[in-house]
């Protein structure tokens, strides 16, 4: 695709040579990890296409939309209320945070013991290789962990359009009031950015778009409970990742179409893996494109991942927003209520998370849990041991893994994962 989009990338200020390099690595990785899988559903063709055009056609769509006045908002977190963005007719996209890039440059701005996700966001900015970041009209940072919160002070000097959203850290009345106040402030900021007044009708439209996508994902999650699993964990993760980039309506249609196919597969006893393959649940930090290392290690060892307790997964899509309100106030309250339930590790205490893990493991018939922590991600690292204890009380074995985006520990990870599979066999 590189020839067709060169002028577009150039106009966004991308470093073409570095960007070509990134696309080459990405393409090769996709070939080796995804296209080499056996027994993939046909419906994955759509997602292959989206991935092949993730820096091409999709960016062109966004830029064409901007020419018609449709704003683009970039975010790093599932706490950014998408319904409000969609209500103004703007598009919300997830920003690139899943690979190491320009690491030497990043070291000039961030301490070395910063998690790979934050470093990646800076790497894509400093290396000038993220067309989403460069085309965004507004970038929303959010005060989740300390690493992100403080790094936004530095990012603010690198981008002209950073908006920082404060978030509560305790599930108290005061915490919820803060979330409501911040969503209200964000609503005003979106109105200002787009020049669109958010009415109840517009909010309802925004809620419907996002709810439909969530419902399609819920449908997909449920189908993965079958043995054999009708879709690999890698492909399911990819769909979760694509959800952050793609046009939501088209994406929803494609997921539902895929689910129709998966239902037929299940009826015929077909799967992406052999029946009886060991089934694992992932839990922990988000895996953004192209962070496919751990599911690749796990599924290469013959197991299948049947769920993701993650922001790029069920933590990010759980619960619909109640759409029955008639006024802007009622609908805004419903939005706050929905996001208030996200059990992110930045909250203290956070008792819902281990319960959700146990519930998901039961629903999807997982035989074990892999707790995935990004090195230097304090909130999830802190929760890992108590979560492991709570989950293992229910006789569900947990393997805790701390890693980053590099491949240097792939062999060690393989040994650990294979030993875990031998243990639960």
């Amino acid at each position: 695709m590189s020839e067709d989009y060169k002028a577009m990338w150039q106009s966004l200020g991308l470093d073409l040579a570095a960007h070509d390099q990134l696309l080459e690595v990405l393409g090769q990785g996709y070939q080796d990890i995804f296209l080499s899988q056996q027994a993939r559903p046909e419906g994955m063709e759509y997602f292959n296409f989206v991935m092949s055009e993730v820096h091409g056609l999709r960016i062109k769509e966004l830029i064409d939309g901007q020419a018609e006045g449709k704003k683009v908002v970039g975010s790093f977190c599932v706490f950014v209320p998408e319904e409000i963005v969609r209500a103004t007719g703007a598009t919300l996209v997830g920003l690139c945070t899943g690979a190491d890039f320009a690491t030497e440059e990043v070291d000039k701005y961030l301490p070395r013991n910063t998690c790979a996700l934050i470093k990646s966001a800076f790497g894509f900015k400093l290396g000038k290789v993220c067309p989403y970041l460069e085309s965004a009209d507004m970038i929303v940072g959010e005060n989740t962990c300390d690493g992100k919160k403080k790094s936004y002070e530095t990012l603010n000097d690198l981008v002209p359009n950073l908006y920082v959203m404060d978030l509560p850290q305790m599930h108290t009345k005061e915490g919820k009031a803060l979330l409501a106040a911040e969503y209200d402030r964000f609503k005003k900021a979106m109105e200002e950015l787009t020049g669109v007044e958010i009415t109840a009708e517009r909010l309802k439209e925004g809620i419907a778009i996002v709810n439909n996508r969530r419902a399609a994902m819920h449908r997909l999650y449920k189908l993965r409970a079958s043995d054999p699993a009708p879709i690999s964990g890698l492909d399911a993760l990819l769909i979760n990742q694509v959800a952050f980039y793609d046009d939501p309506v088209r994406f929803t249609g494609s997921v539902n179409k895929l689910c129709d196919e998966l239902e037929k597969r299940i009826a015929q006893g077909e799967g992406a893996t052999a029946k009886g393959a060991p089934r694992l649940l992932f839990s922990g930090c988000p895996m953004a494109v192209p962070n496919w290392k751990l599911p690749w290690v796990v599924e290469s060892a013959g197991a299948v991942v049947v769920g993701e307790e993650s922001c790029v997964g069920e933590r990010g899509t759980r619960n619909l927003t109640e759409a029955s309100g008639e006024t802007v106030e009622e609908l805004m309250t419903a939005i706050v209520d929905r996001y208030w339930k996200i059990d992110c590790a930045v909250f203290t205490p956070n008792p819902e998370r281990p319960e959700h893990i146990k519930q998901m493991a039961a629903d999807y018939k997982a035989q074990g849990v892999i707790h995935y922590g990004l090195q230097f991600c304090q909130p999830y690292a802190m929760e890992a041991i108590p979560v492991e204890k709570k989950v293992e009380e229910g006789d569900l074995p947990v393997l805790r893994i701390d890693t980053d985006y590099s491949m240097e520990d792939a062999e060690q990870l393989k040994t650990r994962v294979e030993a875990f599979l031998e243990m639960i066999a």
Binding site: I385, E388, P397, D402, E408, D409, E411, Q412, T415, R416, E418, A419, E422, M423
Partner: protein, 260 residues
């Protein structure tokens, strides 16, 4: 009579064990891995066969384990060193509850259930701090052999504190201690303490259930074993040949595999 082979290709040593159908050890070998895993696996197997007085075609099934397990063409199956160490230790010590294995580039604590099944395990992360490689580098720096470390440390009068288990930092620490004329046995004891503290910390989340067995090359170092026993507050048993526990487990799995 059929025989079964287990080959453990580790980062520093490659080990092989031959067992008969009843699980009795017929021959074993410990060789250096060097730069080529496949050759090392073959060399270890040949040596073990020679000691057992057997020909390669008398081996009915082979299981490979260790980091180089994928590079063993003779193997019908590859099993991780966690499972193999557990089974090897369980066979040698039926009462085993915990295996502490310190190998060339990693260390692990394995907790076993009633019947020798792995219940939980912890491995060190990326770096080789506090492993056999660490002691090897330090021995070279101090001008003593790896085999002398245990004896020297047991004779130490006192101990020097080593604050780092990072091989790079500890090496410069050792240089400065040598420069201050600190007695070498005391430095070695301090290095052993650093290894023990690092590995013992890994028992934190798995817990230690007796009987505790130490395996891997570092288990041959009596100084480390003694400090580990003190640190964990338990008695520690060491097999006669601690380096072949993984290969033994692999050989026993090979015998089981063939019976299926």
């Amino acid at each position: 009579m059929s025989y079964y082979a287990g080959i453990d290709v580790g980062s520093l040593s490659s080990d092989a064990v031959i067992v008969d159908a009843a699980g009795g050890i017929k021959g074993w070998a410990v060789t250096e891995t060097g730069a080529h895993s496949t050759n090392a696996a073959s060399a270890a197997l040949d040596k073990a066969l020679e000691r057992a007085g057997l020909r390669p075609d008398q081996v009915a099934y082979t299981v490979a384990t260790g980091y180089g397990r994928a590079a063993v063409p003779q193997a019908g199956k590859k099993v991780t060193e966690i499972t193999c160490h557990a089974l090897g230790a369980y066979t040698l010590f039926p009462e085993v509850g915990t295996v502490v294995d310190i190998g060339g580039q990693d260390s692990k604590v394995i907790r076993l259930g009633e019947n020798g099944k792995v219940v939980d395990f912890v491995m060190n992360d990326k770096c080789a701090a506090g492993t056999g490689r660490f002691l090897e580098v330090m021995a070279a720096k101090l001008g003593v052999t790896l085999d002398d470390l245990g004896r020297l440390s047991l004779g130490a009068e006192g101990e020097v504190a080593i604050s780092s288990v990072c091989t790079v930092f500890a090496e410069s620490e050792v240089v400065s201690l040598v420069a201050k004329n600190q007695p070498i046995p005391q430095i070695i004891k301090g290095l052993h303490r650093a290894v023990v503290n690092r590995v013992a910390a890994m028992t934190g989340t798995t817990g230690v259930r007796e009987q505790v067995i130490m395996s891997g090359g570092v288990a041959k170092n009596a100084g480390v074993v003694k400090l580990m026993a003190e640190r964990l507050g338990v008695e520690i048993s060491v097999p006669d040949e601690p380096q072949i526990v993984g290969a033994l487990g692999a050989a026993l799995l090979a015998a089981r595999e063939d019976a299926v």
